[in-house]
């Protein structure tokens, strides 16, 4: 067993080291031999995408767009609660939203089809009838809870909703979509619905409840779908729409409350400017290691 002496002499005619585990100890090499080929298969930062500041900023616009939509909903809630918005104008808003959403969906679809239109119309009518029938229940469901608790819970639910919301896609899918939504986005949608139910219990009449529930559900369930369709249709239109929405929201909030305006503005700046910059900065710390030891990924979907 003169392995060690052979290794130290490093006599030239010795066999080349092979990266194999069979055949016992390789003659002339110790078991702790480290070849030049060591870590040859290692790949660093293979799947890291070089991000560009402008691109990230434009992508962040969809987040601020949705923030504005939620801010607008809260605005409508507060106006209704302070009776500066009566039920008829609320219903008017509902109908105009419904019609405009419909139109946007239809026009951004590749081909206009009567069956799709019928499908939507049928579903929406079911939805509205159900909501109308259930309005008295919503009105009294959480009535016994104190207003402070209602506000606190609503705010936390909305924050939860914003955190878990799926900003890249819409949870409510266009008919025929295959992929199921993730658990987090389902939780997000549910949080928003519960928040609307809580708010509804503070309203004076059934019609109020119906109008506000219809409004909130329309926005929380279908606004992501509408904005997603716009984005898919034309990115330019999406940016224009988002910016006008931001301006609209900011001006509304400005008339309502100064501090809230400053808060919302700083939030939008944070999301649109600071976060992208931050992301780009911390990119250089990215250190990803791949190699032959990685678990193989299956190249097909497992349908359980």
């Amino acid at each position: 067993m003169d392995v060690k002496t052979a290794a130290s002499n490093s006599s030239p005619p010795r066999a080349k080291w092979r990266k194999v585990a069979y055949g016992g100890m390789q003659p002339g090499y110790d078991d702790n031999h480290t070849d030049e080929t060591f870590l040859e298969g290692m790949v660093m930062n293979a799947s890291v995408v070089k991000r560009n500041m402008l691109k990230v900023m434009l992508d962040a616009v969809s987040i601020s767009e949705y923030l504005c939509i939620v801010a607008l909903v809260v605005l409508v809630w507060t106006c209704t609660l302070s009776s500066s918005l009566d039920e008829n104008s609320l219903l008017l808003i509902d109908i105009s939203l419904l019609v405009s959403g419909f139109l946007i969906l239809l026009f951004t679809q590749k081909k206009l089809s009567l069956s799709l239109l019928l499908h939507y119309a049928l579903n929406v009518s079911f939805f509205i009838t159900g909501l109308y029938v259930l309005a008295p229940i919503y009105q009294t469901l959480t009535r016994s809870i104190s207003s402070d608790s209602i506000w606190a819970v609503t705010v936390s639910l909305l924050i939860l909703h914003l955190f878990l919301h799926d900003y890249s896609e819409s949870t409510v899918k266009a008919p025929g979509a295959l992929k199921n939504p993730a658990l987090t986005s389902c939780i997000s949608v549910n949080a928003s619905v519960v928040a609307s139910v809580f708010i509804a219990s503070r309203l004076p009449s059934r019609l109020h409840v119906f109008a506000i529930m219809l409004f909130s559900l329309q926005v929380f369930l279908f606004a992501p779908l509408v904005t997603y369709c716009i984005k898919k249709y034309s990115f330019c239109l999406h940016i224009c729409f988002s910016i006008s929405l931001m301006v609209l929201t900011l001006s509304f909030v400005y008339t309502l409350h100064r501090l809230l305006f400053v808060l919302l503005l700083s939030l939008l700046v944070f999301v649109n400017l600071v976060c992208p910059y931050w992301l780009i900065r911390i990119q250089e710390y990215k250190f990803e290691i791949n190699g032959p030891w990685d678990e193989a990924k299956l190249c097909f979907d497992i349908t359980d």
Partner: protein
């Protein structure tokens, strides 16, 4: 084998995974221990209690096993308490006059704790890593940090394949020279191809080709790949049959696949296969199919090759290193490439002689060789210079901004605890256990790697519990 400075070691093998649990690590520890005993070393195994199996037991060849009464809480792992095991480990180390502590497997908490305590008490420690781990998910990151902690202070480390060595070096930041590659082996005496008698008694079916799969049916073992591959192969080759041994959550999917393609008479699902029955399943087949998505070594391939089967396997982890290229057909882990590889294997089949393949495997792998190579690692570990606590703390401190400080605190606490224990129960007061001396059976080295099951039978027949509390039952 007696020309080196032939000192005999007292080795303590520590792992959560040992018989009655069955698997690659368990098998490795058992076979390695048996061969080391045959080389004249003293080997003691420490594991946690399995059900009622608690206390001290002896296995074949006088292998002493301590089943520490410490309950497993998840995946056969003991609950990590950091210092809870110090007293008992210290007592065992003293009682058995241990010189080297050898821990096995990254996922074993008992192993990590025992290695830490042993280092605190100044013992030389060796660690064997049996698995691969990624770098991306939270679980892996945590495991890698724990591994870094243990390996920061280890004397020598062993990996089972070169890919595993690369992985371990990256995960733990250990110097590559300290990491040895010593593969697993296979008991070729146990995994023999079908003998002439067996061939005569079994029905002659030369025309049909049987493909055997033996693995747990879980995601990581690629059960989903099987679901895609089997119908396609059955469609292309009407004479192919599949035998699938193993159980697991993905079995339902395989059964569904069998129903859907009406392959009931061509795909046999055997369910869980005992390790003693593996050979009897393997020899029914001509091709062994391994669809694993990650594998550090894959003993199953060795067992199949030793039974004379041609292997088709996914090219993952250490698999390409395991057997020579002409004994295996490798494929990417994607169904179409797997089907292509199986077709290639079917065309290669007429040229394969199981007996020749078995004889080659006998040349390539033996546990005895593994034990001898491990012995060299122990010798190296004992030659490592002793370091005091401060030197070792500095090494731990460099493990990370936060982790380093936490590691140091853990070490210091362990050190204090050890000194308190020394005051409470001085090491001199701990009674040393008498050695159980069996004359090593040199003629039958190949048979030294009998499986734990045999050992168990043998032991049950004599006496199950040999507690060695008193020195009276010293069997010599």
């Amino acid at each position: 084998m007696g020309n080196r400075e032939n000192e005999k070691h007292s080795i303590l093998m520590v792992s959560d995974f040992f018989y009655p649990n069955v698997g690659g690590v368990e098998n490795h520890i058992y076979c390695l221990s048996q061969c080391l005993l045959n080389l004249g070393h003293k080997v003691v195994v420490v594991t946690h209690a399995y059900g009622k199996r608690s206390g001290v037991r002896y296995m074949t060849g006088g292998l002493k096993v301590y089943y520490v009464p410490w309950r497993p809480f998840f995946n056969q792992n003991t609950f990590p308490t950091l210092h809870g095991t110090l007293p008992i480990i210290r007592t065992i180390l003293t009682r058995e006059r241990i010189t080297v502590v050898h821990g096995h497997q990254t996922f074993s908490t008992l192993c990590h704790e025992a290695l830490m305590h042993a280092r605190i008490m100044g013992y030389k420690v060796v660690f064997t890593d049996h698995s691969l781990n990624g770098f991306s998910d939270a679980g892996s990151i945590h495991m890698n940090k724990v591994l870094q902690f243990t390996l920061a202070d280890v004397s020598q480390a062993i990996c089972v394949s070169h890919t595993s060595k690369e992985n371990t070096v990256l995960r733990s930041g250990l110097a590559p020279e300290k990491v040895f590659v010593i593969p697993n082996a296979v008991d070729t005496a146990k995994f023999k191809p079908m003998s002439e008698e067996e061939r005569r008694s079994s029905k002659p079916s030369r025309s049909e080709i049987v493909i055997v799969v033996i693995s747990r049916l879980v995601y990581r073992k690629g059960a989903d790949l099987l679901v895609e591959v089997i119908p396609e192969v059955c469609r292309l080759h009407p004479n192919v049959h599949f035998i699938i041994g193993g159980d697991g959550p993905k079995r339902v999917r395989l059964e569904e696949m069998r129903e859907k393609h009406s392959l009931q008479d061509r795909v046999d699902l055997l369910g869980a296969v005992q390790h003693t029955e593996v050979r009897s399943v393997l020899i029914k087949g001509h091709i062994f199919l391994n669809s694993s998505l990650t594998e550090a070594f894959c003993i199953a391939i060795l067992e199949a090759a030793s039974c004379g089967l041609l292997t088709v396997s996914t090219r993952v982890g250490g698999v390409p290193e395991v057997v020579p290229d002409d004994m295996i057909v490798l494929a990417e882990p994607d169904p179409s490439d797997m089907v292509r590889a199986i077709q290639k294997a079917i065309t290669m089949l007429p040229k394969i002689d199981p007996q020749v393949m078995h004889n080659r495997m006998r040349e390539l792998y033996s546990w005895h060789d593994v034990a001898k190579r491990t012995e060299i690692v122990y010798d190296r570990a004992l030659k490592c210079s002793d370091q005091n606590l401060l030197e070792r703390l500095s090494r731990h401190l460099s493990c990370g901004a936060w982790a380093g400080k936490i590691f140091c605190l853990v070490m210091i606490f362990s050190f204090l605890l050890w000194h308190i224990l020394e005051l409470w129960q001085p090491a001199d007061d701990i009674e040393e256990a008498p050695d159980f001396i069996l004359t090593p059976n040199h003629d039958e080295l190949e048979g030294c790697c009998r499986k734990p099951n045999n050992a168990e039978n043998q032991k049950n027949s004599s006496d199950t519990n040999i507690y060695d509390n008193s020195g009276n039952n010293n069997i010599s």
